[in-house]
Subunit: 296 residues, 2 copies
């Protein structure tokens, strides 16, 4: 299989669905909805929705009623980027090569765009379209699982810890814990959502969970690497930003070579978790390798 073609094809499916679910730009409500659309269509790779779709496909389920959930995951990811970029948080001016939301719409609308996307995500996850394939009980299970992953002990907790760690000495263990919350939890939940949607039994659910955890780890390590070795152009955000803020990163603990090894190990562990799956899990396997290959 060709992973680039697969990603391009799924990306298009996701973006068409996103555009359809996104609200009509009603005149009186225009500003914050413009801000939501601006960030939602600012060139994301749609990794989380594609992970959900690929996880379901690995279990032989391919159904359009997964799309509201897949799109919800992208809304959540986008909300987290908008809020993380705010002046009070990471204070980033650029994201994916474009001015961040608050640079374009002001802080108030950026906060509201994030709040709006987070609310919309749960609206989408409870969308009647989902019920075409999924039982209400399993639908609820996905909502609970995603809510927990992004909540105070998940993604929001990770961002809080990340801010608290700035300019302070932390251990490699603490760094891993921060990342597991901040980026790992939503990536894992995305894979799990696809697994539940496809009716995974317990062993397969566990295997896919491990897969999600390992690629979540790989994803963050590669991000750290790109921040050191990549240019601003490749990265779409200010390179060396983490260094400038004196943030702990994997390379700052381990150096570039050891960090690359760690990323390779995580990818290998992710692929290994899929040992009992047939060729229908190839997109997941290739996705794991693809994440590593971002590290040029």
């Amino acid at each position: 299989m060709n992973i680039k073609e697969y990603l391009a094809e799924k990306k298009q499916v996701v973006e068409e669905a996103l555009a359809a679910y996104m609200l009509v730009e009603k005149e009186p409500l225009i500003q914050h909805i413009k801000a939501m659309r601006y960030s939602l269509f600012a060139g994301g790779k749609r990794v989380r929705p594609i992970l959900a779709i690929a996880a379901a496909e690995a279990l032989q389920v391919s159904h359009p009623s997964l799309l509201p959930i897949a799109c919800a995951l992208e809304c959540i990811h986008t909300y987290s980027l908008i809020h993380d970029d705010l002046p009070a948080m990471d204070n980033d001016d650029l994201r994916r090569g474009k001015p961040t939301s608050h640079m374009v719409f002001g802080e108030a609308e950026a906060i509201l765009a994030g709040d709006g996307l987070l609310s919309l995500a749960f609206d989408l996850m409870a969308h009647p379209e989902v019920a075409v394939h999924l039982s209400p009980a399993e639908n609820l299970r996905i909502i609970g699982l995603v809510a927990r992953a992004i909540g105070p002990l998940g993604m929001v907790g990770g961002q809080s810890l990340d801010l608290a760690a700035e300019g302070r000495q932390i251990s490699l263990d603490q760094l891993q814990f921060i990342h597991r919350c901040k980026t790992g939890a939503l990536i894992t939940a995305s894979v799990q959502a696809g697994a539940i949607f496809a009716g995974a039994d317990a062993p397969r659910f566990e295997a896919l969970t491990t897969y999600g955890e390992k690629i979540g780890l790989a994803f963050q390590i590669v991000d750290d690497l790109l921040d050191v070795v990549g240019s601003t152009e490749e990265l779409g955000k200010t390179a060396g930003a983490d260094l400038n803020r004196q943030k702990a990163t994997y390379p700052s603990f381990l150096g570039v070579e050891k960090t690359r090894e760690l990323a390779r190990d995580a990818v290998a562990a992710a692929v290994e978790a899929l040992n009992d799956f047939d060729h229908r899990a190839d997109p997941l396997r290739e996705l794991a390798h693809y994440i590593y290959s971002r590290n040029r």
Copy 2:
């Protein structure tokens, strides 16, 4: 019945449940969770959870498995206050007589506390405890309804419009539309959540929806009145703040007397919507009067 006793009793039930659902203060995650607790236990009247409980009771259903949903409504309300108070938004230093979240914890943690409460709310609404009484399908219906009420075309939309209207001329119709989104939508959704929980048929659901809309309107009108006639002490926030920000209010359009009349009319319409309910709807009726009586 004695509405003050009723409110005090239900408030206690809600606050005990809130305390139980609120996360243990794990050491590494402590800061944003402290911020969540600070605002959640800063003296709210728990109007929205009590509305949900009273609506269910009006339909003869009283069951503790409504509590996760009731508490979720309070989490959402609290998140909206924290974000609205931010410097980039309404820039308020005081709320319920206490320093606002960002004054105590800083802007970043205040944003995260809001994000955390919003995520936690959906976690709570999908809580397994709810399933003790409610079918998964109806549970999903509540989640979708609440998500829509607080989303880009609901509460978040209202706040965006409210900010856009500052210092500009708007009509009374526009003011009402803003309030219907900003405060009315969540109040109505709270009543509706209780109605669905109690298995309301279509006519009763409609009646309770009308009740919710009318008390939502009354609530906002009285809030505007208090801002003009109340002292900072009574209000728990800086009196005359809306005036200072040149915000449109009901009294600025209609004067104090006409505004009082409008509030009385809304309360009467709310009570009238409950005509087909028996004495079990008395708490809802009394609640409507109680809202008006806040206007001393």
